[in-house]
Symmetry: C2
C-alpha cells in the first residue's frame, strides 16, 4: 500500500515531487504528465482517507465527505494544482493539501457532517501554459465556456482541446452544472510581504483588488543625438520620465491599497546615440474599490495627456486588461476573525493584490480567501517558503471554520 | 570613353549608383564590391580631369594637382566614400565630389598651383561594417595603427584583414608616412537642422564636440505588482524617471551647445505585472568645451547617486566611450567667413555635434570643416537631401578658399 503524507510539511514535499525541477521548484502546467500524476496521486490519497472522488469533464478533482442528507449543499474547499514554470511548492498546493487534512481530521473526530465537505484540486489557475487563467474556477462558475479555449495553443503549438484529451478529459462533453455549492473557501500563501512585515499569522482577505493595465505609447521625433539642439527635440523619453514621476507622486494621494507599476518599457530604436522616436511603457494599477481605481486611472491619464501636449509629443493610452474588484463574504470573514481570536492567532484584514480562484467563485457563491505568510513575500519562484507553524495555523483555522459551518 | 558627371547634382546620383539600395539610399560599406567599384570610378574620373591618382596601402584614394616645386606641401581636401547601411547619397560623397570639381575648376582657370592640391576619397569613416570609425583619417594621422584592426570582424565573421585583401589592399605592408600635408579641408552636409532652421547657407565649424557616453545601471527589488505595497517597494524605474527628468532640467542651465540623450533603456524582467529589479539606460552628453562637458557629467552623476540613495536603490555609472572636443583652425575659419561675406552667403559659426574625419586631421594639421544645410536635418537615411543651390554654394566657397591658399 502506498505511503501518503502525515502532515503538511511532508505533504508539500510529496506534491512538489510531481514536476520537480533541478533548481528546487516545480513545473506542473495544465494537463502535462506531471499534472496528471499529481492529480492521480491526490485522488488516491483522498480515497485513502475515505473521501469519494470524482473528476469533472475538464479535470477538476473532487474528494467528498458526504452528509447523510442526499439534498445537502456542499462546502467546497481547496485551490489549484497547476504551477507556473519553475514555480514554488506552496502556491495552490497548500490550499488543496490543507483541505484534505482538514476534512480528514473532522471526519475522524466528528464523523459525517450536516453538509457535504468537498476538497477540490482545481485544474488550472496560473495561465502559464495557455493564455487563459483560472480555467478550473472559471468553468465551475460559468464565467468561461468551452468557446473560450477553442483557438488557444500553448507555446509548442498544441491546441488546448488536444492537451485536454491527452490527459484523459473530453473537450466535447457538456460541462456539468453544479447546483449544490453553498460556499467556497480557499487557503493560500500570501505571495506578498504584508503578513511577515506586520508579524501576523492569518490574512483575512476583504477583497481581491481590481486591475487595469495600459499600454502608453509616446511618440516624438527620432534624431541624431549630436546634431539636434535640445530646444528642437521632440524627445519622448523626456515626456515619459515626467509621466512616470507624476504617476508615483499620485499614488501617495491614495490609501496604501493603491498600487501602480511600470513593469515594461521599450524605446525605439533603442540606440545610445539616437534620440528615440517612440517609447512604449505599461501601467498596471490595482485597488479594491472600483471607483477609487477608476479615479486614479482617470487622474494619471489626464496628466499624461497634459504632459505630452506640453512637450509637443503624441500619446495613446490603451487599456488592454481589466479585472473588477471582488468582495469576499463578510459573514464568513467575521467567523474567521472570531476563530483567530479564540485561538490567539494574530490576524490582519487585508486585500489580495494578486488574482486567485476565489475571485471567480466570489462572483457566484459566498467565498472567503485566507492567507498565511510567505517568507520575504517571494512567490512564483523555487525560493517560495512558508514556515511549518504558519502552515499549521492556517490548517487549524480551516478546521475550526469548517466545523462551525458543517457540524 | 566613359561619361563622367558635369555638375554636383549629377555627380551625387552617379556616385550613389555604386551600392544603390531599392529604398533609394546607398549601402557602401568598407571594402565591399560597391565600395571597390565606387573608388575605381572616382579614380578614373580624377584621371579624366588631369589629376595624378594613387591609393595608399589601406585604400584611401588621392587625386593630385601637383605644384611645380617637388618639395611643395599639400592641401588635402575631401571626405569619406563609405556609407552606413541604407544611408543617404550626400554624407561623405558630397565632400569628395566637391573636392574634385573644385580642383578641376582651379586647374582649368589658373593652371598649376603653388602647393599641391589633392582630392581625397577616404576609405572609411562610419564604423558601420567593423567596430572602428574614421579608419581612413585615423591611419593618416597615426592615431590608429594596424594593431587596432587585428581582431576585428564584421557581422558575417569576415576578418578586417581578409576584407582589405579581398579589395586588393595589403594589411601586411607598412603604412606610408606622409610628411607633406599642410592642411585638411572637409566639406560635408550638416546632418542636423541648424542651418535650415536659421536659414544660413554655410556652417563654419568652430569645434567638433566632445562626447561622453555612460551606462547607468539602477538596481532595486523585483516583486509582484499586486502584492507589494508602494511603501515597501524598491522600484528602480521610480529612481530612473526622476534621474532622467533631472538630467533634462540640468541641460537648461548650460548653453545650447550642450546636448544630452537617453537613447537606450532596458528593464529587467520587462514584464507588465512585475516590478522591475533593474533598469539600465544610456546617457550620451556632448559639448565643444571639455571642461563644460566634464562639469555637466559630474553634476548629473552626483544627482543620480543622490536620487538612488534617497530611494534605497543601488546605482553604477560606467563611462564606456569618450571623445575629446577638437577645435578647427581659426585662421582658416576667418578666411572662410570673409569669402562668405564677399559672396553674400549667409554663414553660421557653429559646432559639429557629430564626428567627422576632420576630427582626426585637426589633431595633427590645421583643419576646417564646412557644412551645407540638410533638409529637416535628416541623415543616415535614404531621405537625406540637400538642395542643388546649397551644394553649389559650398563648392563655390571651397573653390575660393583653395584659390586663396594655393595660388
Amino acid at each position: 500500500m502506498e505511503q501518503f503524507p502525515d502532515n503538511l510539511k511532508e505533504a508539500i514535499e510529496w506534491l512538489a515531487s510531481f514536476g520537480a525541477v533541478p533548481e528546487g521548484g516545480v513545473t506542473r502546467t495544465l494537463y502535462s504528465k506531471a499534472w496528471q500524476d499529481a492529480q492521480q496521486a491526490l485522488k488516491e490519497w483522498m480515497e485513502s482517507v475515505g473521501l469519494q472522488t470524482s473528476y469533472d469533464t475538464i479535470g477538476n478533482l473532487f474528494g467528498r465527505l458526504a452528509a447523510d442528507d442526499p439534498f445537502a449543499p456542499t462546502i467546497l474547499v481547496g485551490s489549484h494544482v497547476d504551477t507556473v514554470k519553475s514555480g514554488g511548492k506552496y502556491d495552490g498546493a497548500y490550499g488543496i493539501l490543507a483541505a484534505i487534512f482538514a476534512i480528514e481530521k473532522l471526519s475522524q473526530k466528528y464523523g459525517k457532517p450536516a453538509v457535504n465537505l468537498e476538497a477540490v484540486s482545481l485544474c488550472e489557475e496560473e495561465g502559464s501554459r495557455f493564455p487563459i487563467a483560472c480555467w478550473g474556477s472559471g468553468m465551475m462558475t460559468k464565467i468561461y465556456s468551452m468557446q473560450d479555449i477553442q483557438s488557444l495553443q500553448d507555446s509548442a503549438g498544441i491546441r488546448f482541446g488536444e492537451a485536454m484529451k491527452g490527459a484523459g478529459f473530453e473537450p466535447d462533453h457538456p460541462y456539468p452544472i453544479r447546483r449544490d455549492i453553498q460556499t467556497f473557501i480557499e487557503l493560500h500563501i500570501e505571495q506578498g510581504p504584508t503578513l511577515e512585515n506586520y508579524q501576523k499569522s492569518i490574512g483575512i482577505v476583504q477583497a481581491i483588488v481590481g486591475q487595469k493595465r495600459f499600454h502608453v505609447t509616446v511618440t516624438g521625433e527620432s534624431n541624431h543625438a549630436g546634431t539636434t539642439l535640445m530646444k528642437w527635440r521632440k524627445d519622448p523619453i523626456h515626456g515619459v520620465s515626467t509621466m512616470i514621476t507624476k504617476l508615483f507622486e499620485f499614488t501617495k494621494e491614495y490609501d496604501e491599497d493603491l498600487v501602480a507599476t511600470v513593469g515594461e518599457i521599450h524605446a525605439k530604436p533603442n540606440v545610445s546615440n539616437v534620440i528615440p522616436g517612440e517609447i512604449i511603457f505599461t501601467v498596471d494599477a490595482r485597488h479594491p474599490s472600483e471607483s477609487v481605481l477608476h479615479a486614479f486611472c482617470e487622474c494619471f491619464s489626464r496628466e499624461f495627456i497634459e504632459i505630452a501636449k506640453d512637450k509637443g509629443l503624441e500619446i495613446s493610452i490603451q487599456k488592454w486588461h481589466e479585472v473588477k474588484p471582488v468582495q469576499m463574504n463578510g459573514m464568513l470573514n467575521r467567523l474567521v476573525q472570531k476563530i483567530c481570536t479564540a485561538n490567539e492567532l494574530a490576524f490582519h484584514k487585508m486585500n489580495s493584490g494578486a488574482g486567485h480562484d476565489a475571485q471567480f467563485f466570489a462572483k457566484v457563491y459566498p467565498t472567503t480567501l485566507l492567507f498565511v505568510p510567505s517568507r520575504a513575500g517571494i512567490s512564483h519562484s523555487p525560493l517560495e517558503f512558508t514556515e511549518e507553524t504558519d502552515l499549521e495555523n492556517g490548517l487549524n483555522v480551516l478546521v475550526d471554520l469548517l466545523y462551525q459551518l458543517a457540524y
